[in-house]
Symmetry: C2
Subunit: 441 residues, 2 copies
């Protein structure tokens, strides 16, 4: 059942142009995906909602967009060169490769391969670094080794002084960033849930030590509220606090926002109290003073950092799964994506009921008005019922139909995706009406 | 003079938080830059304007966001593995490295080093591939070699069938994409003009052979118009058509949009007629049929491609340079960035004239209204004149001041950055008024 729904979503994503396997005509490349015409709009809308909630609406948070390629010392300071590894095990028999920590402990005890089933065939575990490595500069031998960043957070830490000085921010304040990161995962999978190339939406909030616990509690609630605000079903969301044995060495507290995927409850976002670990390490490795002087209290300290770290692709997947419904109607079944209108890739479709009597011309005119505002789709082929179904499956919240009454009173029908109700709306009030239904203003 | 202006812009960019050297606390990493709080907003606005002009307003263009990591065969088909090289020359004396094609021909004849000046010291030219290379999969020896894409275009070509089938587009239609690309340039430079990590804004338009020349002419004019639409001075823009000797092997025609930078006229965007080269190559290398069947004329053909390829970072640099002015006033000089309000990172600043008499409370209330719409900045420190100057330098188009008259009639002054005129506007009409001044609606 769970697998079945994932398969249906993967198939819908390809068929309707949300997400394609990368380089598919060449047989694909493992765990990399391309966003098609609908997917790119959905992803843009998710990012826009995040940026709005984090940067635009908050005076105490500013944005940043750091490069993917950074100085290699950054990853020594962060601990990634030494410790960002997975334990890798080979089967001498069938040549398959596994993460040791994902092998059933009983099988591991017998060195029994999870794939071919033989005992005494697994090698010892070797530590494998998950960072992609490349060389910058003209000749490989003597060029600098650089890494594709495995997380966006470090780009924020190394810029914190520059950002603070240039934007006249005082602690507490936050820096938000959306950007790509890369991990050479041994076992990626579950479609875009875990990929080797992915996009993060991270905010690092710099606070005075002692206020960190309260700020952490506040941010975990604010981040949970955001998922509800973009329309995710509340009953599919929960918190899961990490126990002391699970905490990363730099973390004082960690809370996951989890979503109930078809594959079970999984992390959607992590809210972490990272203490002064990151800035202390960068101070030590760079030799630059990264402390903060508080004018009011005349105190000097290394700020603590509260991090909210979300996966953008994972949020897109969550929106798709959460919006997906195969709805039984009286004489029919429809597949519908109940996206929040703010997130919907196409905001409205425009149909002439029939392709005559001046209806196409009027529909085209309406289409021109809408395209100045948002993405709209024109469809004049097939029965209107079929056109509605096509838009339901794409998650389009509103369908505007020009019919014979339009020719008389200059009104159109606006059909709501979820209720399937139709209202008549005057053409000249259509844009403000749709704007209101989409953005609430 | 030219260098002086570039230096001033680089310095302003750092001081005000537009652009920082990447990993600066570690001494920086060559030719990589980070966008700070103002820079990230400027870049977001540039991208938003491009997406709007290309995708939102055009029914015949859809978006795409392909992964940076692609199947390595893509780069064999595209010709990059064999031919995306620069000729590299070493000086045996001073150990510096050059692009042979950038050495003065007379010096090259004498093998005379452009740096140390010695003759007979330069090696023969070796071909150096500009693609960054990495390995995907758990062990370097047997993992797949993959490249960081050196251009975004190929992501569009390999997805063209998937996009067309899923979005029900017919030729002619276009696919637009914004994304990062990487080139291991031997001689990057001029700030963000040429960097090793950069962002492209590309649109590939698929047409029937025979219509390609007309479509190419149309797109070169539309792209030129876009730069004017985002406020670039028309007299600083020109076309430059490539001569037959300059054309890439796949191109039938190429036109650059050039801008007059402090370092001279340079390419800002290229509009190329790429013929059927790309799809033919991918058809050949993938073994997949990439031809198109035209239902109306019953013809089958490989589409020709008209490409519009712009650098996003370069456009940001152009906006900064083009907006920059040191303006002599009667008793003063001000540095001002005359951004089009649509592009300005901060749309409005809010000032209480003095920090008493209820002015801060009112200003705060206005600030809350504005932050629901766009990025606004609150400033209550120093004389109002100084606060204006700070916003001029950040390119903020409007400053809203709460003064003693506000307390009586609920109006504020709105000061225009360019004219420095002040109008009184009623607080309750402020948001619509600013919205109109920024977006014209």
């Amino acid at each position: 059942m769970a697998v079945e729904i994932m398969d249906k979503i993967v198939s819908l994503c390809k068929r309707r142009g949300f997400i394609f396997q990368s380089s598919e005509i060449y047989g694909g490349i493992n765990a990399c995906y391309d966003y098609g015409p609908l997917g790119v709009e959905l992803k843009r809308n998710v990012k826009e909602q995040w940026w709005r909630a984090m940067v635009v609406e908050n005076e105490d948070i500013v944005g940043l967009d750091a490069a993917i390629l950074m100085h290699p010392r950054v990853w020594e300071a962060s601990g990634h060169v030494a410790g960002f590894t997975d334990p890798l095990v080979d089967c001498r028999q069938c040549k398959q490769r596994f993460r040791q920590d994902e092998i059933d402990p009983k099988k591991w005890e017998k060195r029994q391969c999870p794939a071919c089933g033989n005992a005494n065939v697994l090698t010892d575990a070797r530590q494998f670094n998950l960072m992609f490595k490349t060389h910058m500069g003209p000749v490989e031998e003597d060029a600098t080794v650089v890494y594709l960043r495995p997380e966006t957070a470090q780009g924020i830490y190394v810029n914190y002084k520059n950002v603070m000085d240039s934007s006249r921010k005082k602690i507490p304040f936050g820096i938000a960033q959306i950007g790509k990161a890369f991990r050479n995962e041994i076992t990626p999978g579950n479609f875009i849930f875990r990929t080797r190339e992915f996009e993060q939406m991270e905010m690092q909030y710099f606070v005075k030590p002692g206020t960190d616990e309260e700020v952490w509690r506040e941010w975990k609630d604010r981040r949970m509220a955001w998922y509800k605000r973009i329309g995710i079903h509340p009953e599919k969301l929960r918190f899961r606090q990490h126990g002391p044995d699970e905490l990363a060495h730099y973390a004082k507290a960690a809370m996951d926002v989890e979503y109930e995927y078809p594959i079970g409850w999984k992390e959607l976002e992590g809210i972490h109290n990272r203490t002064d670990f990151d800035l202390s390490r960068h101070q030590q490795f760079s030799g630059k003073d990264l402390s903060y002087f508080d004018d009011a209290t005349r105190e000097r300290f290394i700020p603590y950092i509260i991090e909210t770290s979300a996966g953008c692709d994972r949020t897109v997947l969550t929106c798709l799964i959460d919006a997906y419904e195969e709805q039984k109607l009286e004489n029919d079944t429809r597949t519908v994506l109940h996206f929040d209108p703010k997130l919907a890739p196409v905001k409205a479709a425009v149909f002439p009921l029939v392709n005559r009597d001046g209806m196409p011309e009027l529909a085209r005119k309406i289409m021109d008005d809408l395209r100045g505002e948002f993405i709209a789709f024109y469809d004049d082929s097939g029965a209107v019922g079929r056109r509605y179904r096509r838009q339901d499956e794409a998650g389009t919240p509103f369908c505007v139909t020009v019919d014979s009454q339009t020719l008389q009173d200059e009104t159109v029908t606006v059909r709501d995706r979820d209720s399937m109700n139709q209202d008549r709306v005057a053409i000249r009030g259509l844009v403000p009406e749709l704007r209101k239904r989409i953005w609430g203003k």
